[in-house]
Symmetry: C2
């Protein structure tokens, strides 16, 4: 993740911001045989998670769908848990950047809409949802999920930094808290309360986060001192 | 759930708002042998979920820890999934009500602190967390979780209605959206991004929701027309 320029991908999935999304067909990564094998295993893990969910995914399934021999899978990834964690690591190595609409309100709404759009299709939502579910059972998946979102939210921070520069947000606004606040009500509905999520919920989440920013609810002590 | 006065419990667990929490020891419900059996099974399910998590919980475990014979368990609950869903239903039948501090800011902060306090102790957090995880695998658990939170959030709505009456929130504020917004950033960290949650995060979530309420970010068309 320190060399993003060396790791181009072809993924432009709108769910990428929010979640690890399956790549488009044929989007194998450049980099030789090792990278191709890793991508093939990742694709098989994503397909398997979407079809069966974490507890029912098997090494046999990954071997069959990746064309990589079970012996190789165990040697390189150690376990199914390792394959799931690595698929998530790989999903986080794309070149996604947050929207830049020219204003904070538009940027936050676009971020929220990436989540609601990305989960509108149950088939597209299945693998990302299974990753979140896998983290309840697999400490390695939980670590990988934590790292994935930490990186995603870090990439979103310029949205708030630009807003501060434009005078749309008070100096010292905690960018990480703002971008988490935009996704949070949507993820609550998707992964906890199991309620529908659409553009109405996305726009409300963005509007609420914007209002809280403007009222200074996300000011940090540290940030306020620095700003 | 229509007869709360007939179903007293002794539970005063601070996590009760947010999540199904194990009852205090000895808090078996009144109501005769059937109710006692149901409560014993519920207790065994909660203990088992806390110890092993959903996929590793077994009917044998529930039988051993509840003192209820496996044959009876299968006859009355059909499956382990049914026992988990019923434990969640039972957790939702307590007499919890939201805090009433006399002001919206205090009420929202108290609600958020119930979540952060309830999850501060990993042992106390284990069963509620396992319930959320079980919903990724069990449709019946997902339905029960959905119903549990729908009822919890419904009970919180008076917090916002009182605020409207006091002039602290604009008429037409969507109470359900407000109370979900308070929990959402905390549940995001607990169940998705796996980041620590404490009183700082709770207070920030409450402050952000309050600012959004005051700015009218939670106004509904329907509500705005009615108000």
């Amino acid at each position: 993740m320190n060399e993003p320029s060396e790791r181009p991908t072809t993924s432009a999935d709108p769910a990428t911001h929010a979640t690890p999304a399956p790549p488009a067909p044929g989007s194998r990564r450049p980099g030789g045989r090792t990278a191709r094998t890793r991508a093939a295993v990742r694709d098989a893990v994503l397909t398997g998670l979407a079809e069966h969910g974490y507890p029912d995914l098997t090494v046999e399934y990954v071997a069959e769908h990746s064309g990589v021999h079970k012996t190789t899978l165990y040697r390189r990834w150690g376990s199914l848990e390792g394959m799931v964690a690595d698929a998530l690591d790989l999903a986080g190595e794309d070149d996604w950047t947050p929207p830049d609409t020219g204003g904070l309100a538009g940027d936050l709404r676009a971020l929220a809409r990436e989540v609601s759009d990305g989960f509108a299709d149950p088939a597209a939502a299945a693998a990302p949802t299974a990753f979140v579910g896998a983290a309840f059972q697999s400490p390695r998946a939980a670590e990988a999920l934590h790292a994935f979102y930490a990186e995603r939210f870090r990439r979103c921070e310029p949205v708030v930094e630009r807003a501060v520069e434009r005078g749309e947000a008070p100096p010292g606004t905690d960018a990480g808290a703002v971008v988490r606040a935009v996704s949070a009500p949507l993820f609550l509905r998707l992964f906890v309360t199991r309620e529908p999520v659409g553009t109405a919920q996305a726009d409300q989440a963005a509007a609420a986060a914007l209002a809280a920013v403007e009222a200074g609810a996300f000011l940090t002590q540290r940030g306020a001192a620095a700003g």
